[in-house]
């Protein structure tokens, strides 16, 4: 997976504690009694996935990984009476933080329900309507979980033929086309027909891009349920040129025909390029 396909610059509004709590809830675990090996492993696998997607991983995520491993390694070492204070501190501190965050997440859910209940009553000075703000209404970790499930499905070919790029534009088109016929699609469905790991990842990046551009939005009825992707009805604006080097409006070559495109202009096709892709079109 050396090909740096595309860089997504997503601000992360959710941190390492959110991820840990997410994993604990996903597996229906008890905060006071976390299977540390298992959770560490899962945590690191999410970090790997985020790295593979080139999501910017804040240093905090790495600090948490180190903390988890420290707790784990302590738990493997022989304990001597009186020398285990550190370990207990780290653990209980982490548990306390998770428990506190969990309480506030629950309080947030309560508030959300309260707002929904109060939302049908309007006051003067209220209808404070605003444009559909909708973008990502779900946790990034829910998205990542679906992606991981698809990647883990097996049967995906991991071999990459040189010169067979997976242009994100093609997947953007694919998703938009799926949404032409129907009001929404399941997140899982956007990966249909992908036989390569890179194709799946490209689909996912295309989705993130569409969300960021406010062309689609994602919804989830309740935690751990299927995620639905909706098309956002907006005055048609030309899709801004977000991928470097491609002229807006220029018909992008289909995947198979890509090699004739000048390579310099398409740094994402350059597998060994580890240099960060330019974020802005050259204007």
């Amino acid at each position: 997976m050396s090909a740096k396909v595309y860089e997504v610059h997503l601000e992360m509004f959710e941190g390492p504690l959110d991820l840990l709590l997410f994993l604990i809830k996903k597996d229906d675990l008890d905060i006071q009694n976390i299977p540390i090996s298992r959770i560490t492993k899962e945590y690191l696998s999410y970090l790997d996935l985020m790295k593979e997607l080139n999501l910017e991983i804040a240093g905090d995520f790495l600090v948490m990984a180190a903390t988890l491993m420290q707790i784990k390694s302590h738990s493997l070492l022989p304990t001597q009476a009186g020398v285990e204070d550190d370990r207990v501190d780290l653990e209980s501190e982490l548990k306390a933080k998770l428990a506190e965050l969990e309480r506030f997440q629950a309080a947030g859910n309560f508030l959300s329900a309260a707002a929904a209940a109060a939302g049908d009553v309007f006051y003067r000075g209220m209808p404070r309507f605003e444009d559909r703000d909708k973008a990502l209404d779900i946790r990034i970790f829910d998205l990542l979980t679906t992606l991981r499930d698809v990647l883990d499905r097996g049967g995906l070919s991991t071999s990459i033929l040189a010169g067979e790029p997976f242009p994100i534009e093609s997947r953007v088109d694919k998703i938009l086309k799926m949404l032409e016929a129907r009001p929404y699609v399941l997140l899982k469905e956007i990966f249909d027909g992908e036989t390569h790991r890179q194709g799946v990842i490209t689909c996912f990046l295309a989705l993130l891009e569409l969300i960021k551009l406010q062309r689609v939005f994602a919804r989830q009825e309740a935690a751990f349920m299927d995620i639905l992707i909706y098309k956002k009805e907006v005055p048609a604006e030309p899709l801004p040129s977000v991928w470097p080097g491609v002229e807006p409006g220029a018909d992008e070559p289909p995947a198979a025909a890509a090699p004739q495109a000048p390579e310099a202009a398409l740094p994402r096709d350059n597998p060994q390029s580890d240099a960060p892709t330019p974020k802005e079109p050259t204007e």
């Binding site: 690191l44 491993m69 304990t79 506030f104 309080a107 947030g108 009553v121 006051y123």
Partner: protein
């Protein structure tokens, strides 16, 4: 009701007018002040009467007690028509991180950004900006420590948005704690049940069971 009392009927109409025209909830004291009526009890009972009048007559509007005050409001039954009128647009919705952030502020106010971040474990600048912009929180002062950081608290708009009469309407934060299934025991290493601990102690080895020995990958 107090129809035989001309003065009462007049005052009630004034109260009604004020509750209609205001765009933020009015407290009893404020209404009393506008009425030139010193007796707040009397004002409160006028409001209660008005509330009952509206309900009994099946009026389209209602006198709502909200956000530490009173205000005329529409009824929930008619919400779809209001939405039709405003078509495409939607009432304010908050993302999960924003909701989490505002719940922390609501329960712990006043507090600084750093204190919110300590709990959430992630930067909250963007969430705070959103909440400030929507008028749900405001700066209420500065903490008198190094750097004199800003303190945030919730607003009256916060109460109205979440349908609360006052901040005391929030359930106690401890009510959100799920009942612990296992009694907390600080001596237990994470992830080992009492049984597993007992087993490893009896066999002299602190080595955990097979399930616990998975190699974790290096981070980074």
């Amino acid at each position: 009701m107090s129809d035989e009392n001309g003065d009462g009927a007049h005052l009630k109409q004034v109260v009604e007018t004020l509750l209609f025209i205001t765009d933020t909830p009015l407290g009893v004291a404020k209404i009393a002040q506008a009425l030139g009526e010193k007796d707040q009890e009397k004002v409160a009972s006028l409001i209660a009467e008005l509330q009952k009048d509206y309900d009994q007559r099946g009026a389209a509007l209602q006198v709502m007690e909200i956000a530490e005050g009173f205000q005329l409001a529409t009824r929930a039954d008619f919400a779809p028509y209001i939405r039709n009128l405003y078509k495409d647009r939607m009432t304010m919705r908050l993302s999960k991180p924003a909701l989490e952030t505002i719940s922390i502020i609501a329960y712990k106010q006043p507090l600084t950004r750093a204190e919110v971040e300590e709990i959430r474990g992630v930067e909250v600048i963007a969430a705070l900006e959103t909440l400030l912009e929507k008028g749900l929180i405001r700066v209420v002062g500065r903490r008198e420590t190094v750097g004199r950081p800003l303190l945030y608290g919730t607003t009256s708009e916060f109460l109205r948005h979440f349908g609360l009469r006052s901040i005391k309407d929030l359930p106690p934060i401890d009510s959100f704690t799920p009942p612990p299934e296992v009694p907390e025991n600080m001596e237990l290493p994470l992830g080992e049940s009492p049984v597993a601990v007992a087993a490893s102690q009896s066999s002299e080895g602190p080595e955990p069971d097979a399930g616990e020995t998975d190699e974790a990958k290096d981070p980074v």
